[in-house]
Symmetry: C2
Subunit: 405 residues, 2 copies
């Protein structure tokens, strides 16, 4: 672990710190990690970023399965990290617990909902951290804080002991300082070994870059050139219309949100109606949206999702990659949350269009911390075929060796 | 729907009946269905087969996403079906709510945990029913009651609004009178259309048949011959050792159980410790097992699982099928629950060895009601590649047309 000059208190990354020693020895020996507070650690309540939730749920009697795997492989757990309320935000500003520090851009949000996890890594307080990623909650804070972030293929890392948000998209994500720690950690969680192989085709998705602010496009240009130099003739410009049958990219975000909101209402609606929790104003508005949805539309959205899924699966050959910006903008400034909507040209629709590719496709996505705009980090993302997480981690290590050395 | 001579009361299949009309029109017009009581219907509590659970959880404010899909496609929901406590049994004898009728073998259990769902279909009270299937909870009652049962590929039918048991294996299953209704229903839930294609190779798995009682082997012989006549040269005897690298079949059940029990403890352990619910004696013993597990072993079990998964994925080519008995014995007699263990030659280890193939492989499995032993139903199962649910449903319809006409 990098020695930090930032203290735990200065970071505001943690709900609580402790020292939970490893239960075995293996590829994570000597590493320490933080756990997002929607993931169970025995003896702790999973507060899920909201005091009413914390007070109305019992203490965990067992670690989440993913935590158990990491301890068994030699890692040490040092605390639970602050997150957005019920994991339903991409910002990282918690009304009750404050905003974890983004050390690379202190006046901007760290990103959420795995805000404390990303902050703890970026502040050098842990080697890696567990987050979750439904709509971007690991990828976005990785991009904002300038660290490595990984969302796995859906269904390949156990979510037992992780609070559900929208199960069709919920995954356990990993944030880390470097590609080696990232690959080792994800390999433990996937219970597989990393295989090294070269990419077949890297599709640089035009519409995804066009969706980003001009300064982001500019800031990522050099990184894309580096990827091009590294992988040469395998890199090519691709239109999403070719990839997904001419559908407008904006429709991906709407499809994603209709399913996500319906599932959030199914998973959390009864508790909200019963417990009547206090939420921060931004989160309250978000949950209001999920309860106002015309639920009959979810059937149509699911059909659209499966069409996109199949099309992506047909187009992405083994060892192919998609290359997109992780986020379309710089991290928002603290204290000015953008409007929550799935349509239009605001922060959320554009961000969700980008994050929905992997969500809808059940695909693994890696956010690489290899770019910046005036010193503020911006992530470049690579997305692989469903189940090719190992291949994607191998590519991560190749890129790190070439670009970050 | 078949007109039933058995009344709702005689069936003891339902927790409650109601009339929830469709919200749209489509491929399920005119059909009615029951919902296992671990799946949300707005305005009802999901009792999950246990009174303490019912009383300590709020009323659902929204239908589960899968229920929403069925209503939208024209089906009518007529009630919530009894199930085993917290869905953690394969028998169907509920200490609090009694045993739903198995009309084909009234002195034997219907099978669980989707007991009432299977009973309602088998008694002719509904056209189809939703169950869940983690370790066999849809496939086993389908086999016991002589109806069609389907477990989908893991992760392809939304589980939002379905109470989690062991998320790495949890699926929403369907029980139906006939292959056509089954295929139409599953197609709505998967949000795909069924494609017809011929099987490449049907692997009749020797060890799976050897695991079954002699009368089951004998009873399934004719069905296997029928499948052989139907698909001819594509059918061949296969050893699981060829399929899965020489591993003993018994190990599959142990691997499955270590993960399942760890996940159950993660999902339900805190509630059990906090609410101290009364359980039936058999279920209490089962939950005791999950809390006594050495949880450090789950990491090793997950590695073994992924090895098996990859091997199955390599061996099962597109359009290949595995053919196995759904259950290794006749349905147990009522009132004499077999011992709950994952080792040895008892009911559970042998049954779980068979059901763990699809569970560990994330594979779709179909139980066909095309055999019996002295009039008592016995299911024959076909298992397809991950994601080939549509193909498997097409095969079901082909078989029904040829064998059941």
């Amino acid at each position: 672990m990098k020695r930090s000059t930032i203290t735990v208190n200065e970071s505001n990354a943690f709900v609580t710190t402790f020292d939970l020693p490893p239960t075995g020895s293996g590829s994570l020996d000597g590493l320490c990690f933080a756990v997002k507070d929607v993931i169970d650690v025995a003896g702790c309540k999973a507060g899920c970023g909201n005091p009413t939730w914390r007070d109305s749920h019992p203490t965990a009697v067992a670690h989440a399965v993913c935590v158990e795997q990491l301890l068994r492989a030699g890692a040490r757990c040092v605390g639970k990290a602050i997150c957005d309320e019920l994991a339903f935000s991409l910002l990282g500003e918690n009304y009750f617990y404050g905003t974890p520090l983004n050390p690379r851009a202190p006046d901007r949000v760290p990103g959420g909902s795995s805000s404390g996890s990303a902050s703890a890594v970026a502040c050098g307080l842990v080697d890696f951290a567990l987050g979750t990623d439904t709509a971007g909650s690991t990828r976005i804070p990785a991009s904002n804080c300038g660290i490595w972030g990984f969302r796995p293929s859906h269904g390949f890392i156990s979510v037992a002991g992780v609070n559900p948000l929208a199960p069709s998209f919920d995954t356990v994500g990993v944030l880390a300082h470097n590609a080696d720690v990232l690959a080792r950690t994800v390999r433990v969680l996937l219970a597989i070994s990393v295989s090294a192989s070269e990419p077949a085709t890297i599709h640089v998705v035009q519409e995804a870059f066009e969706l980003a602010d001009p300064d982001i496009q500019q800031g990522l240009l050099e990184s894309v050139h580096c990827v091009r130099n590294l992988f040469g003739e395998w890199v090519r410009e691709t239109s999403l219309r070719d990839l997904a049958d001419g559908k407008d990219f904006a429709n991906w975000a709407e499809t994603f949100c209709e399913i996500q909101w319906a599932e959030i209402n199914s998973c959390l609606g009864a508790w909200i109606a019963d417990a009547k929790p206090e939420f921060g104003p931004d989160i309250a508005a978000s949950f209001e949206l999920t309860s106002q949805l015309d639920r009959r539309r979810v059937a149509d959205a699911l059909q659209q999702r499966e069409e996109y899924f199949r099309r992506l699966h047909e187009v992405l050959e083994p060892n192919d990659l998609l290359c997109i910006p992780t986020t379309p903008t710089l991290p928002p400034l603290k204290g000015s949350p953008p409007a929550r909507t799935s349509r239009g040209s605001g922060y959320y629709p554009r961000t969700l269009a980008l994050t929905s590719l992997a969500g809808i496709g059940r695909l693994p996505q890696l956010s690489l911390p290899i770019a910046n705009v005036g010193g503020i980090p911006v992530g470049l993302s690579l997305i692989a075929r469903h189940g090719q997480d190992d291949f994607l981690l191998g590519v991560a290590k190749t890129i790190e060796k070439q670009l970050c050395s």
